[in-house]
Symmetry: C2
Subunit: 473 residues, 2 copies
Amino acid sequence: MKNIEEVTTQVLQKIRPSLVESEKLMRLANRLLEVVKEISRNYEGILDARLEGSVAKGTWIRGREEVDVFVQFSKEIEKEKLEKTILEIGNVVIKKFGGKTRLRYAEHPYVEGTLDSIRVNIVACYKVEPGMWLSAVDRTPYHTDYIKSKLTGTIADEIRLMKAFMLACGVYGAEIRVGGFSGYLSELLTINYGGFSNAVVAVSNWRPPVYIDIEGHYTDRKEALEAFGRPGLLVVDPVDKKRNVAAAVTDTKLSEFILASKMFFDSPSERFFYTPEHVNRYRTMTEVRRALRGRCILGLRLRVQQKPPDVLWGEIKHTLKGIRRALEHEGFRTFRYDAWSEGDLCVMLFELQELNLPAYYLHHGPPTYLANALEFVKKHSRAQDTVAGPWVSGSRLYVLKSRAKTSVKDILRIRLTKGDVRVSAGLMDAIKRVKIYKSGEEIAKLASKNINFRQFIFEFLEARPPFLARHAQ
Amino acid sequence: MKNIEEVTTQVLQKIRPSLVESEKLMRLANRLLEVVKEISRNYEGILDARLEGSVAKGTWIRGREEVDVFVQFSKEIEKEKLEKTILEIGNVVIKKFGGKTRLRYAEHPYVEGTLDSIRVNIVACYKVEPGMWLSAVDRTPYHTDYIKSKLTGTIADEIRLMKAFMLACGVYGAEIRVGGFSGYLSELLTINYGGFSNAVVAVSNWRPPVYIDIEGHYTDRKEALEAFGRPGLLVVDPVDKKRNVAAAVTDTKLSEFILASKMFFDSPSERFFYTPEHVNRYRTMTEVRRALRGRCILGLRLRVQQKPPDVLWGEIKHTLKGIRRALEHEGFRTFRYDAWSEGDLCVMLFELQELNLPAYYLHHGPPTYLANALEFVKKHSRAQDTVAGPWVSGSRLYVLKSRAKTSVKDILRIRLTKGDVRVSAGLMDAIKRVKIYKSGEEIAKLASKNINFRQFIFEFLEARPPFLARHAQ
């Protein structure tokens, strides 16, 4: 078995860009910035333009190059004006470089382009004093400056290791779909612990709630945690004491990160740095059918409208929970659920204990000493769907009733039709036209429709985070 | 609909013995008493002999005549001597009257005989001062005297109504099998409320805990309830302030009594006074098969040793609970259970939600922040019976496992073999040779073996107390 240093040395050789590659990327980035600045002069209220993100900090991973140019507007400029202006500038700049543009949405729309197969983002923000934030990205220039001030020695490489580790372990990315660790957060953690290895050792010993406050904005851990509502992970933003940089990290991703760190520390290996895409091959229908054997899988296939991913995934996650709740309320046991989306398709999967409920169920009545005991007896003694009873056990009445429907498809369909499932308003229409599938041939049929959901279905059935995937063992 | 008075008047005509019948019974009782007294003179340490029970009090129901003769021993006589003596006296007396004798067991053995188809019991007790009780039946003469002192007006008839009502509703009898109301308790309740109708109205409004203290032994209801451990029903014995006459009444029987009273008050009818034996006919196998349809019934057939009923039924009830616990622990849902016994046979029935567990089950692991998370992952990642996972959800690890056995018969058999079910020591041997049956044809086969368990199985499937039985509606 290799030790941690041997592993990280080898990984770094793969993920650290060469000097030539670095210079090429920096040249592109600086030329872009110059052009953005030049064009910006034609607009009123633009105060500056700067490089942000991993290029500005020199912390990117080879193969994941990305250039972020931020245009800083005066706070006098209205939101609509800012949005209109950034789209104009972005389109002109990208076209000037001969790239293709795409409109993207975060809090504000921005322009994404691809130049020499490198992703470029032209983003607008307000130039404001710390704490006077007008939009979520106004902090970014301060984050860049803060990280740059800490980049001594080989810390940039340590950050690369951290990002590659998080990526491969499936916990990287603050978008709602992932609920993981942002780039900035990965940088802060590495800086806080003085390197990747130290950070992994520390994380492997984390026991939430975890409190990190690099700049010492708070003096009392307990007070700080209370102030943020006791999150599992609190990393106070060095440039904004009121912000938890880890606010987007879900309990699951935090726990996966802890487990991945424990496993890496226990048996260091390069596999912890290779993203699943590198190793996962597409699965055949035979493999999917084999994995489905004996499983109780419920699948929903929706056609969704185009919308910003964080909006869509917020709706998807809320709807997943609503459906799970409805299923549990009907008496089903839900082991797990997950969703996948691409273009206008969305697939939701639920693994259940059973796809059909027992034909009969126990119905609890009131204690016999209550006045409504008599009503209960009268109602159920004669009811068509009473199988046995009423009888008395302890102080209560009980009756055995037969279910009108037992199949999860029928039961869910009825509840959805009645509007008796908590569904996001944004998915209401899609849910009305939902297709419901259940294992085994029905889910296999669903898997056969698209190679990407086939892959998702297979991974759902395997149910292991990337760092525990079978091929990685 | 008849009113309560019309109903009770009619019922009384049926359950009140005629003058001729009364005189005949009293003649027999007094002749018996004389002979017992005569023979007792041959033994040392016998102080007196008296009539007890419903004959002594004149509160018996027509058709349920029974003569109790109590021989009162001096407290100097040892237990063994008392037991030997009462068996001698009992046998001599019954034979002298030309009847057949049978040895019976309560706390002490006693002699039961049948004369002119009337049951006769010759029982031993110690003659002691109140509170100095040496055996459970020493209180009986005091109970008899107390009740006789209260029998003014028509109260004996009111008691007859109460007993007939309790009998027909299935709540009469303090033996462990029933867990219901003793004759003395039925008398005290009737006396306390000044008659049957008043008592039924009061009971229909009971909300446990119920506290009745006719002689005012306690001044504080709360204190009295606490002193007895907060039973559902506390009726302080007028002749012994430390005894709860209702100690043997289970919550279920108390609740059934309340419900039966509510129902009778709601729609008075003679059917509340007819015992099930009067109305229930034996069921055909076709009826049993129809009732079994879709039901999940587990049956156990045991051969038990002869022993006093209260001992056997204590063991049966304890064992029923132990088996239920084991089934629930394995993941089965138990709706109800009950048992039946006759001679050396005992049948236990359980109604379950399902007879087979799902092939796969969710196994909960530790939170990832604990040290043993790694062990869990290593163990389950490679285990043969791991179907999917391990995965992380919230802070915990989970894994989907496959069950070695899914059938309730196999699973229960394995646990019984391993000694992993809490079974009464007295039934241990019987359980080792238990036959296990499950619905539908297996239970039908069980039902076909004996007309009495067939009847029990049918009533178990119907699952209604007598006062709610279908034929009674």
